[in-house]
């Protein structure tokens, strides 16, 4: 089956992202989660399915489902599963993440990499509300994000991450790179036992070029951001394009330094006694 070059590039970037994150975190599921209580697992914004495929091969007894709004990426994921011949995760495409085709209280564990690669929407209250519905009481939700930009030797990186924050604050939504707000967001949504972990990710140019290559692939794919920032009036499309070009140039300098922070927040959906209503909505 043929895919556009863009889809193939995005898929490669997202697989790479999974590898990079997994290398830093060292486990697919936070260590505080008892694996014996996990049977039904959902990966939201699963992309080409790298996390699901690895989960299925490590935990063959679990039922792993990956869902994404990008039909091409889902087809790539399905193709990869056939090639991998592992115990099979299921990949499904849906039209809206806020209306998922799953029964209430179905999943024991929901995983969400909010990738910066431009293929996934922001985490909005409506999405969390939907995830709350399909997560069983006592089940776990795990939000993961990489913050890039604030700690970089390239002024363009810092400026870019700042513009994203300003633009998102203006619309009263979450900042785009706002993983520090995840614990608060989970608490407001009614989750309990909230914890988070921080993992620094070296995205600079020392030793190998893993991190640098990742930054480049994100920048190369992240074109939606230009129209978003333009729409929000914080920078014109042309200004953003210039900024992105500068960032790509800076990232190729031999002394390029960039430290990203991977934030993994986890919460438990409480068992509600009768009369309790979730704080959501």
């Amino acid at each position: 089956m043929q895919y556009s070059k863009k889809t193939a590039t995005v898929a490669t970037s997202l697989r790479f992202q999974h590898y990079l994150f997994f290398r830093e975190i060292g486990s697919l599921i936070p260590e505080t989660v008892p694996l014996t209580e996990i049977k039904q697992v959902l990966d939201v914004c699963c992309g080409p399915g790298a996390w699901c495929i690895e989960m299925a091969s490590l935990y063959p007894d679990m039922q792993i489902v990956g869902v994404d709004i990008d039909a091409d990426l889902i087809r790539i994921a399905q193709q990869d599963v056939v090639q991998a011949r592992e115990s099979l995760p299921i990949f499904e495409c849906c039209t809206s993440l806020e209306k998922l085709p799953y029964a209430s209280n179905r999943f024991d564990f929901i995983h969400l990499y909010h990738s910066n690669a431009g293929t996934t929407p922001q985490i909005r209250p409506a999405l969390l509300l939907e995830l709350w519905r399909i997560l069983r009481p006592g089940g776990w939700i795990n939000l993961v994000e990489l913050e890039i930009g604030p700690v970089s030797s390239a002024a363009a990186d810092t400026l870019f991450s700042h513009l994203r924050q300003v633009a998102s604050n203006d619309i009263g939504e979450l900042r785009l790179t706002s993983a520090v707000l995840y614990p608060q967001l989970l608490a407001q949504a009614g989750y309990r036992d909230i914890q988070y972990s921080l993992y620094p990710v070296d995205l600079g140019n020392q030793k190998g070029h893993m991190g640098r290559d990742y930054v480049m692939s994100v920048l190369a794919n992240d074109r939606q951001i230009a129209s978003f920032l333009d729409r929000m009036g914080v920078a014109t499309r042309e200004e953003v394009e210039v900024l992105l070009r500068n960032m790509i140039q800076d990232a190729q300098q031999i002394d390029y330094f960039c430290a990203g922070m991977l934030i993994s927040a986890i919460g438990v959906k409480p068992f509600l006694t009768s009369g309790d209503t979730p704080v959501l909505g």
Binding site: V151, P200, Q206
Partner: protein, 302 residues
């Protein structure tokens, strides 16, 4: 009843009495706590693991302050002769008292401006350490200081630079007040990030070392959790953010970044927000280091 230590009495009522933050005494106490927290997140190491301190003879700490790093080093490595240099007299006096109380005759302390040539012979030291000095070093000073470090390092000796950068924090008021501090510093030309959105020194340590004749230049990253979920270890860093803001208040107002009323409101608001149980934030400690080549590079121009 347990008598609260001097440190606790500054830190715990901190958010109620922010004025106390600007005293020089509070800075010394915060520095002592910061040192302990930095050690903790760096696995108790005083230097990157690869550096063989146990085989060294002479070490210099530039900008040693009250000697937090030096005294831990002296306790662990009694064979070392350790030199400490700082420009601030009160911090140095405290260090001298601690040296005398501890009978640590291996420690030598001197008040000096880093801008002057160091009164140390060429190729004399096994290790030069500079930590959290960037706010006292302007960008044009760095090449001079690094050049001096290279001059006084023995062949195969190590230079270690350590700085902290705040990444992100969930408290909007704390972020706003930190941004105001940085904007004021940027107007004075004291940030290395031209946008003034970050302080910028930590991010440039690696690049600056690459421009020296040193070999094996590399860096390590350690994370500081600014939230409370994994304990209260981040509290002292939050204190430091507010202390820096309070210290910079006159400049922030003078530069028209905030007026006095909005500064005070923001600081008080930050104090409240920082107590939120779901507070989340991070800072990064960057340790960049390099090694003097076998044939020393002191004659190579920077």
């Amino acid at each position: 009843m347990k008598h609260p230590s001097r440190t606790e009495s500054v830190i715990s009522p901190l958010f109620a009495n922010l004025d106390a933050l600007t005293s020089r005494g509070s800075e010394l106490i915060i520095n002592a706590q910061l040192h302990q927290q930095m050690l903790q997140v760096q696995g108790g190491r005083l230097c990157p693991e690869i550096i063989p301190i146990n085989r060294m003879k002479r070490v210099l700490d530039l900008g040693c302050g009250a000697g937090e790093w030096i005294f831990d080093l002296a306790k662990r490595y009694p064979q070392l002769h350790i030199y400490g240099i700082d420009i601030f007299e009160d911090a140095l006096n405290q260090a001298k008292m601690r040296r005398n109380i501890g009978c640590l005759h291996q420690v030598e302390l001197r008040q000096m401006d880093l801008l002057h040539p160091l009164p140390i012979p060429d190729r004399y030291l096994d290790l030069v350490h500079i930590r959290r000095c960037a706010s006292f070093i302007t960008q044009p000073m760095w090449p001079h200081i690094l050049g001096e470090c290279v001059r006084i390092l023995k062949p195969r000796g190590w230079l270690v630079l350590v700085e902290i950068e705040i990444g992100d924090i969930s408290s909007p008021a704390c972020q706003a007040i930190h941004r105001a501090t940085l904007a004021a510093l940027a107007k004075l030309g004291r940030t290395m990030d031209p946008t003034g959105l970050t302080f910028g020194a930590a991010q440039h340590l690696y690049g600056m070392l690459l421009q020296t004749p040193l070999d094996e230049v590399t860096y390590n990253l350690s994370t500081i959790d600014l939230g409370f979920m994994s304990g209260t270890s981040g509290r002292v860093f939050l204190t430091e953010i507010l202390r820096q803001a309070s210290f910079m208040k006159p400049v922030i107002i003078q530069q028209g970044i905030l007026n006095a009323t909005s500064f005070d409101e923001l600081l008080a608001q930050a104090g409240r927000e920082l107590l939120a149980p779901d507070l989340c934030g991070w800072a990064i400690i960057i340790s960049a280091y390099g090694r003097q080549p076998e044939r020393d590079g002191s004659n190579i121009s920077m």
